[in-house]
């Protein structure tokens, strides 16, 4: 798309897994000094494209050309040596090592053949400062960092390799708003320094803010490449999903204040992370949790599900006192609770286990009759929920790890819906899943609410909160800063309360 010679060129590249083509005869070009957005639903072939470029897998057919030379990367190291560096969505950090170790993991500064710890620390400090992460100490262990800080360290690590082509795969999905701004600035600086950037994101406004051009993938094929502004957002979405979207979000019903309160919390506090939180959720209501990342939203959901120890305050379910003693107790409350966790890979799924076992895991007791386990009943119940959620699977006995991200998330949802919950807590359930699946999740939540389920929905995506929720509680510094509903529920008010500023932009 630009006049400069391309950094990366792919010609007729295909990749087959078994009989299925993950990538089909794709031509693709990335140029220096250009921010190229890569769009598509999960399973469209974006990940495969990136993996081939970064040397994680090799193409079944076709040519990959880097700076005019045909290459055949056997591993990520060779790709990095050629200047192609990828920030993967699945974090590639080493949890037991320090931030400084991680940033210089491959080519640490040496003195006399050995690693120079002091120089390495200095380098880490500089790198962290350059991306606005001065709050991270170089000797901190990665496992002690919150997810958003880890993602920044991951970006710093990629920058340390001085890439010619930087690939960002959903690299901002866990970042706070302030970090995202930093990342934007870094990306723009790299662009003016002549670095090529491939930017994969599901967030349309990020792409509008950053990209020079975009390529849409669908079903393993490249659909179209176009310059910024040539296509409207709805046209792009149309290309991605191949079908017309009638509504972005399901209609909200007229509020029914008469419905009984399903979940009521009073004065919940937990260390410095939760401060005096009181909330009521009625049956049939979708209540959003907003605010910047890390303001206590995750802790609040975990506290309500009984995972945290030493929470003060009281919780009532359907007017009856409820003890926060653990997930099993939460599932046995008068209205059973369910928590869709943040990290589906570690807290939501048993990746090597098959789909059926994952789905029925939380509700096995439903199929137990005395000493006999009713496998037939389990099978039909699992089949029903798979149909209901439209989970795309080839075989119930396949491992969950073989599914795409969106379908994995649906499996987590299916698992908890099988328990017939009366109260559903969701921790950013649409992070990193494709547009089509998101729509289905929104519709599902609304359907559940219509049947009387109470929903508490934490999301980092403001548009989602506005579109989906009856009201939104914005959290700041461990407390509920504001409740927004009706006409007061819009992007501006959410951001203002999240940043704790008033209408004039003054810090309150």
């Amino acid at each position: 798309m630009s006049d400069a010679a391309p950094i990366l060129e792919m010609k007729h590249v295909s990749k087959h897994y078994g009989g299925i083509a993950a990538l089909n005869e794709v031509d693709f070009v990335a140029c220096p000094g250009e921010i190229h957005a890569v769009l598509g639903e999960n399973g469209a072939g974006k990940s495969t494209l990136i993996k081939i470029a970064a040397g994680v897998t090799d193409p079944s057919e076709g040519e990959v050309i880097v700076e005019g030379r045909r290459v055949n990367f056997r591993n990520p190291t060779e790709a990095m040596a050629a200047g192609v560096v990828c920030v993967f969505q699945e974090l590639s950090l080493l949890p037991d090592m320090t931030v400084a170790d991680n940033l210089s993991i491959v080519s640490p500064p040496l003195r006399g053949g050995l690693i120079n710890g002091r120089a390495q620390r200095e380098r880490a400090r500089e790198l962290l400062a350059s991306i606005g992460c001065e709050d991270v100490h170089p000797l901190e262990l990665v496992r002690d960092l919150p997810l958003s800080r880890r993602q920044m360290v991951e970006i710093a690590k990629a920058l340390a390799k001085k890439p010619k082509l930087l690939i960002l795969d959903e690299a901002t999905s866990a970042l706070t708003a302030a970090d995202v701004e930093h990342v934007y600035t870094i990306i723009r600086n790299l662009k003016s320094a002549g670095v090529g950037i491939l930017y994969v994101s599901h967030r349309m406004h990020e792409i509008e803010a950053l990209a020079d051009c975009a390529t849409v993938f669908r079903n393993g094929r490249r659909i179209e490449t176009f310059k910024k502004g040539e296509r409207s957002v709805s046209a792009i979405v149309q290309m991605m999903i191949g079908r017309e979207l009638i509504h972005h979000y399901p209609d909200k019903p007229v509020p029914k204040p008469a419905a009984p309160v399903a979940l009521s919390a009073k004065n919940l506090s937990w260390g410095t992370q939760l401060r005096d939180i009181s909330l009521d959720i009625r049956k049939g209501e979708i209540v959003g949790l907003g605010g910047l990342d890390g303001q206590g939203q995750r802790s609040l959901l975990l506290a309500l599900f009984g995972v945290l120890k030493g929470v003060s305050g009281t919780v009532e379910v359907m007017g009856k006192p409820h003890r926060l003693s653990g997930p099993r107790a939460a599932m046995r409350a008068p209205l059973p609770l369910a928590l869709i966790p943040e990290d589906r890979k570690t807290e939501g799924l048993m990746l090597p286990m098959n789909i059926r076992d994952n789905i029925s895991l939380a509700s096995l007791s439903h199929f137990q009759k005395g000493l006999r386990f009713d496998g037939g009943k389990e099978h039909s119940a699992v089949g029903k929920i798979i149909d209901r959620l439209k989970i795309k699977i080839s075989d119930l006995a396949a491992a969950v790890s073989t599914l795409s991200g969106g379908n994995q998330q649906k499996v987590v949802l299916a698992k908890w819906l099988m328990t017939n919950p009366g109260i559903i807590l969701l921790n950013d359930p649409t992070r990193g899943i494709d547009v089509g699946t998101k729509q289905e999740v929104y519709q599902l939540l609304r359907d559940l609410a219509d049947k009387g389920v109470a929903v508490l929905f934490y999301s980092t995506d403001y548009a989602e909160l506005i579109g989906c929720c009856d009201r939104v509680l914005v959290m700041y510094n461990g407390g509920i800063a504001q409740e927004l509903m009706g006409q007061h529920l819009n992007e501006r008010t959410i951001i203002e309360t999240a940043l704790n500023v008033d209408e004039k932009g003054q810090v309150a």
Binding site: I105, P108, H137, V307
Partner: protein
């Protein structure tokens, strides 16, 4: 100051092992009929260094999230081999020592090669190769006996300047020329990375295979160094299966007491040395309190359990139940 706080946090397990050893050793010495003399220290050191070396050997595969069940057998193989070839003049003896160390490294390399290129699990690979190495030891020395170059042996098990046990110096030198450079080298770093998260390490361009190969090779080398020291202590070789097995299992115990995680990615060989010292001191404590040696396994078990429990104390501080499982 802030740096120091982080460093203490990183080395909690090591510091606990050192503390435990110091406490136990003070109890031992203060109840010893003679007290701390050069002879008492030398005897304690000569015995403790054997397990310390084997425990150091075990640490390296454990850090990569592996395990080496053959360290005790390599230890015994080196002992038997040394009792045959570390003889004659001092020059011939030194040559023999080189061969023994080379054989140990080769045994370790074979373990690593099977694990890396054969993609077999470390635990089963080393169980099998360990049996093979023991078989070779038995072939070399069917019955106990043999000899060793006595000048070298006397020097190695005596004192430097009449006060410092030579075996402690040998151990220190091995830490200085093997462990510390390894820990601060790119492959040593890579080994920790592999143990911490092998996929992430691969994705980051870490030389995963080289790291594992080197870890197992060095493990063989260190275990053989332990076998040499055994030979210098006993002036003979013996292909004893119980000793091989005991050293293997105690090496794992020492690694754990020393604060190294069996899940890999976390720990240090220096911790394992102190873990080994702790285990040895248990035996000495039984001696000074005049208890039946039959109690030793029981006490070892209690100390091991206590050490592991110490590491689990963090559970009491945990306020998010999810962290119990990380």
């Amino acid at each position: 100051m802030n740096d120091l706080r982080h460093r203490i946090h990183h080395n909690g397990g090591l510091l606990a092992a050192i503390g435990l050893f110091i406490v136990m050793f003070i109890i031992y010495i203060s109840n010893h009929p003679v007290g701390l003399t050069v002879a008492v220290a030398t005897t304690a050191s000569n015995k403790a260094v054997l397990l310390a070396l084997v425990a150091m050997a075990q640490t390296l595969p454990v850090l990569t999230r592996g395990l080496d069940l053959s360290v005790g057998m390599v230890f015994i193989l080196a002992n038997c081999l040394a009792s045959v070839i570390v003889i004659g003049t001092i020059g011939e003896g030194l040559l023999g020592i080189t061969v023994v160390l080379g054989a140990g490294a080769l045994a370790g390399f074979i373990n690593g090669a099977i694990i890396v290129w054969g993609r077999l699990q470390p635990i089963i690979t080393t169980l099998a190769t360990g049996a093979m190495y023991y078989g070779i030891a038995l072939y070399i020395r069917p019955g106990p006996g043999g000899d060793v170059q006595s000048d070298i042996a006397d020097l190695a098990t005596g004192q430097l300047f009449g006060v410092v046990p030579t075996t402690l110096v040998v151990l220190l030198v091995i830490v200085l020329i093997v462990w510390l450079p390894y820990r601060n080298s790119v492959p040593g770093r890579a080994a920790l990375a592999v143990g911490s998260n092998e996929q992430a390490a691969y994705m980051s361009g870490v030389p995963v295979q080289r790291a594992k190969l080197l870890a197992y090779t060095l493990a063989g080398l260190l275990a053989a160094a332990g076998g040499l020291m055994l030979t210098f202590n006993t002036y003979s070789g013996e292909a004893s299966a119980p000793i091989a097995g005991t050293y293997t299992l105690n090496s794992i115990a020492a690694v754990v007491i020393g604060g190294t995680s069996l899940f890999g990615g976390w720990g240090s060989a220096i911790g394992s040395i102190f873990g080994a010292f702790v285990l040895r001191t248990i035996e000495d404590l039984l001696f000074v309190f005049d208890l039946d040696p039959l109690w030793q396994p029981l006490f070892q078990g209690v100390v091991l359990l206590a050490a592991v429990s110490l590491g689990a104390l963090r559970v009491l501080r945990i306020r998010n139940r999810l962290e119990l499982f990380t």
